[in-house]
């Protein structure tokens, strides 16, 4: 039997809309120092392998994976970088441990979004060069089209999407890490200037800078550590056809399949009964509703009513994004999934302060790699 794997330490660097006071390496050093202190490990002696996430074009450096070891204490150690979301790195780290390749593994992800002068050009460069790029349009037209199709198929409404924004930004006021907490109403969201109709300016998560580092350990190594372990019960990840021409537009199939894999591994038959809360991707307002349905938290077409009825509020029957989500916290590029896991760990340790979900025993974090991707990952965590 493979050993169980726990997250035994977590660390962050402050999330901000811009961070001119530090370089990305210093942000990583700050988050790593916190995580190692939390776990009670020395990276030069106790850590066997390191897994990072990054994307060269976001960083402005080719072969960026070469630039990560020093500030993590990872020089002259096994290090690898995944061009995927942070939850995919956690899956990789868990596999390194479950296969017996390493007993203690560190995962890192960061965003230095504010260093980019031309982020929308970079994002458009991710689209098909022959069929899509010649149109010359901003890549978020993909989100506008998807929202149009999703609302048409599901029967959910723009008004219900606006309620997601108000809920998440409001919940973020209770999160000291969040860069975009605000007291706004659904009417404010609907009245904001249109950007990629049916999306308006407030329907999209705004970018933030920040870094997260996590320490994972095999069960046999956990007893030597200071940190309170939170156990990984299941995980999965999935990519749909990337092409705009043949992908699924109404339903988030990548999220449904990633969740099915994670539910199977965690032995979860009824997600709503077996989970206490979820941190779901909400890079755009409609995504939270689409992902709730894909993860079988509710039936297709029901997510809108749930948000309307307050079911997914922090004080509702099934809180979604107690952290404030990406809408409230900020979009963190590849580190986005790690932020969701960070919140899940705090909730399960009972350390979420004023936004604590009472009695939380098991939670789920899900990520999506943003426009124009169809990649998503899911991880399920539980306390003893």
């Amino acid at each position: 039997m493979p050993e169980r794997v726990a997250i035994v330490g977590v660390g962050f660097s402050d999330l901000r809309s811009c961070t001119p006071g530090v370089s990305y390496k210093e942000m990583m050093f700050e988050a790593a120092t916190r995580a190692y202190h939390d776990a009670g490990v020395d990276p030069r002696k106790d850590v066997h392998s390191f897994v990072c996430v990054s994307e060269d074009f976001w960083e402005g450096t080719s072969i960026f994976d070469e630039y990560v070891p020093d500030q993590l204490g990872a020089a002259l150690r096994p290090v690898q970088t995944i061009t995927g979301d942070g939850i995919q790195a956690l899956c990789c780290a868990a596999m390194l441990i479950r296969t017996g390749t390493a007993r203690v593994v560190v995962v890192e992800g960061h965003s230095k979004y504010s260093d980019m002068r031309t982020p929308h050009h970079i994002q458009q460069f991710a689209m098909d060069p022959i069929l899509n790029r010649p149109l010359g349009a901003h890549a978020n037209l993909v989100a506008g089209l998807e929202m149009s199709r999703y609302l048409y198929e599901s029967g959910n409404t723009r008004e219900q999407c606006a309620m997601v924004v108000a809920k998440n930004r409001h919940q973020a006021l209770l999160n000291p890490l969040a860069a975009y907490g605000a007291r706004i109403t659904p009417d404010d969201v609907l009245a904001a200037p249109p950007t990629f109709f049916p999306l308006g300016e407030l329907d999209a998560a705004r970018p933030a800078d920040g870094c997260f580092v996590m320490v994972l350990a095999a069960e046999s190594a956990v007893r030597d550590m200071a940190g309170q372990p939170v156990w990984i019960a299941g995980y999965g990840w999935c990519t749909d056809a990337p092409s705009l021409e043949s992908r699924e537009w109404g339903e988030a199939a990548y999220a449904r399949l990633a969740a099915e894999q994670a539910y199977r591994m965690a032995g979860i038959a009824s997600p709503l009964r077996d989970l206490d809360f979820a941190e779901l991707d909400d890079a755009f307002s409609y995504k939270e509703l689409q992902h709730m349905e894909a993860l079988r938290l509710c039936r297709p077409g029901e997510a809108g009513e749930w948000v309307e009825d307050g079911v997914t509020r922090l004080d509702g029957e099934f809180p979604v994004n107690p952290s404030g989500g990406s809408l409230g916290v900020g979009h963190l590029l590849e580190a986005t999934g790690l932020h969701r896991v960070y919140e899940t760990v705090l909730q399960l340790r009972g350390e979420a302060g004023p936004r604590q979900v009472p009695g939380a025993r098991r939670g789920l974090a899900q990520s999506w790699r943003h426009v124009p991707t169809t990649t998503g990952a899911v991880i399920i965590l539980e306390r003893e």
Binding site: N140, V142, L145, S148, R149, L244
Partner: protein, 155 residues
């Protein structure tokens, strides 16, 4: 560990840019698609002999069942509007003087869809499910590009 620059006058940045240029190989399956569009104003598609999915533009392989495909269907450039968006922002984040609508168009006889411009017309607010047709450039102006389709418009 938490040292930060606190004097804004002391903050220094270094600018950088990278010139990026490529050519992209269209490939065996798409070459005839662009030729048919340029020469005959028709759209080619490749049906999968195994699972039946009809790909437009054509592909050499089926993404669902991994079969090898051939572009054997020739279709009229008309279809159904599956979704639409109106873009108000350009690639530098500035607001456009004229918003531009885009549609996801499923061509009749194909199972996949094209993303393309949608003609603006006050009389015809785009509506999911409406019938649209491609407006092509005049034959002499076509270059074998997806932009040989000027836009789609309501029928």
């Amino acid at each position: 560990m938490r040292e930060k620059i606190t004097n804004p006058d002391a903050i220094r940045t270094w600018p950088g840019k990278v010139p990026v240029e490529y050519v992209y190989t269209v490939g065996v399956a798409s070459e005839p698609f662009f030729r048919a569009l340029m020469e005959r104003g028709r759209l080619l598609a490749s049906p999968c002999p195994e699972c039946g999915v009809r790909y437009l533009p054509p592909r050499l392989f089926c993404e669902r069942c991994f079969s090898r495909l051939e572009a054997s269907l020739e279709l009229e450039p008309r279809g159904t509007l599956e979704a639409f968006t109106v873009v108000h922002v350009d690639l530098d984040g500035n607001r456009l003087d004229e918003p531009q609508a885009y549609g996801l168009v499923r061509i009749h006889g194909a199972d996949t869809a094209l993303v393309h411009r949608l003609a603006a017309s006050d009389a015809d607010e785009p509506e999911v499910g409406m019938e649209v047709e491609a407006v092509l450039l005049p034959p002499a102006e076509r270059t074998g590009s997806i932009l040989d389709i000027r836009h789609f418009r309501p029928v």
